[in-house]
Assembly symmetry: C2
Homo-oligomer: 359 residues x 2
């Protein structure tokens, strides 16, 4: 049996404790400074307030000041914070990890340099370590369609563990696999992580389709707006493929769990879709944001990072101006607060001779 | 202004009359022998009963015995019947088409020979013509995510017109384009049509995820089953790609409107998903079918055709036995009436070392 110490006790980090516990591994959940109430609730009532579920009895919860104790003797470390906390998590792990440990990261997002250079988050996490430590630890990440609560109630879930070291990823996968939690291995670290980050951006657009219906009188409309969402989904899939070319992922990676699979699940609901829906109903992003104060919007943040990098990459001649029209458009809505007016004719390589009604 | 005569007056054929009418083209809708009541309703009340909407005033409706009159002087013919009626439609069109006309087909499905050889439906349609006529007519088809009623209420819709002759497809597209109906052109006839047919099969599987929830007590469950549906979606996307290799479509075709875009919209609801949901709830396909008597199930029919062809193609050495595990599994459920037990570990090239809980 393996000891897995987890930094961060949000819904996803905690949900992953369920398959681990089902396999009789020991899980130690360490809350960040933002998680104090969560840890208290688990200690006192055994319930994770965000998940609304009892955590397995074998899970032990620690406040951040007890992190060292929680990582004592652990073979596996999970970085369970979201994309906003990756640098912080790296700094913490620098003093908690021991040579030979295996690290599994769950954050979905990207980091952009001032010149638009895009990097995956496990790189950012790892570079917070001193080199000597960094190179004696294995770095893997989990991606693929996985709503945390569904994992925790043991619904069938298929994910990808990705890392440069396939045997380390497979070793981790073996700890997690249960009859409901299915794990595949990939060594396309860049491709899988870029898909995980960009699909969050595109899923925000999935909210538009519902929001547009909210503009109509009456809550019941006979015909929904799925054609709209499907067209965005198709363009998004195309752009996932273009990101592979741009950043060096494998061409087939978007067309499985980490790409369109995850984009499908993220389009079905959640905060990202909710803010998109408010925009669809007629609000500017800043107004929609104002109605969701205190809510973490990773998709919007990823749009700022990735969509914001594209003009810089275009200026440097790395990306064509007509490439990524949907990501650029999402950035104009989220980053520049423009109203919703989908530029359909720019999609799929440009609509030919789109004359009617456009002149 | 162009005269467009349409054979078949189902919801999709009729919905396409809306953008045409908005562009001031003349649409003549000819009912099949199954459409008599629809044509009567349009003639008497101007309403299409299936759509539940008034058809544009300029649309003229004809019973089948008046087809010749309806096709008099038409430049464009639409084959508006579904996949079950394609041979019949071809026989009718053989005496209705004139040299130089442009044909646009809307049926989504495939045809399989006894040895498993798979062909797209526009081929089947065209081969009902005498060769002299066939070669003087252009053949195109419409594909992509398009729920009929949403087109008819003028919601944004993005589709693909496909044909070997790009200029003919573009000529047709120009008749249809409006500010809400957006049309791209493809010459990948096989790829687009194979996507259109196979995504119908995979969308039936999308019903499983809801049906499984129906087994649980109480109508409200805190966590849905989207991880399940997303994993199927990912595997389906992968298989769309494999079908391109097998049948000669372009590798990029599945990853846009005709593939994952259309699969997304078809997964959102409809008859296909409904029968899948009944299966997910615990019924065998034959029982689910029995609850939907009189309902046309194109997805199930396509599974019989395409899933049924795979073992034959495997026997002939054209397809590997481990290829298309989801399509084969759907065929075991629909064709062989087996109960639902998703073979997750066969997906994505096979789950490595899937030991836990499997032994």
């Amino acid at each position: 049996m393996t000891t897995v110490s987890v930094l961060g006790s949000g819904v996803m980090a905690t949900a992953l404790a369920f398959p681990l516990s089902d396999n009789n591994h020991e899980v130690r959940l360490v809350g960040t400074h933002l998680d104090r109430d969560i840890i208290d609730a688990i200690k006192e009532a055994g319930v994770h307030p965000g998940l609304g579920l009892e955590v397995p009895e074998t899970v032990r919860a620690y406040q951040l000041e007890d992190a060292e104790e929680a990582f004592e003797g652990a073979e596996v470390a999970m970085s369970g914070v979201n994309s906003f906390g990756v640098r912080w998590a790296g700094e913490q792990l620098a003093s908690l990890l021991k040579p030979g440990m295996h690290v599994l990261s769950i954050a979905k997002g990207m980091d952009a340099g001032e010149n638009g250079h895009l990097r995956i988050l496990p790189e950012v996490l790892a570079e917070q370590m001193p080199r000597g430590l960094r190179e004696t630890v294995s770095w893997s990440a989990v991606a693929g369609p996985s709503i945390a609560g569904e994992v925790a109630v043991r619904r069938d879930t298929c994910v990808v563990f990705v890392g440069h070291d396939a045997s380390a990823a497979e070793k981790l996968a073996a700890l997690f696999r249960t009859p409901y939690y299915h794990v595949w291995i990939s060594t396309d670290f860049v491709g899988v992580e870029v898909c995980a980050a960009t699909k969050n951006c595109y899923a925000l657009g999935a909210g538009f389709m519902e929001g547009i219906l909210d503009r109509e009188d009456g809550s019941e409309v006979r015909y929904r707006n799925y054609n709209y969402g499907a067209a965005l989904f198709g363009q998004a899939a195309r752009e996932l493929g273009r990101f592979m070319e741009l950043l060096g992922g494998k061409p087939e990676t978007p067309y499985g769990l980490a790409g369109v699979g995850d984009m499908f699940v993220t389009s079905m609901g959640g905060r990202n879709v909710k803010v998109g829906r408010l925009i669809g109903s007629g609000l500017r992003f800043s107004e929609a944001r104002g109605r969701m104060l205190g809510v973490t919007l990773e998709g919007a943040a990823a749009i700022e990072v990735i969509g914001g990098a594209l003009p810089k990459l275009t200026e440097r001649g790395i990306v064509e101006p007509e490439d990524f029209p949907l990501m650029r458009y999402l950035h104009s809505v989220v980053g520049a607060d423009e109203p919703l007016d989908m530029p359909w004719s720019t999609f799929f390589g440009g609509e030919p001779e789109a004359k009617a009604g456009k002149g």
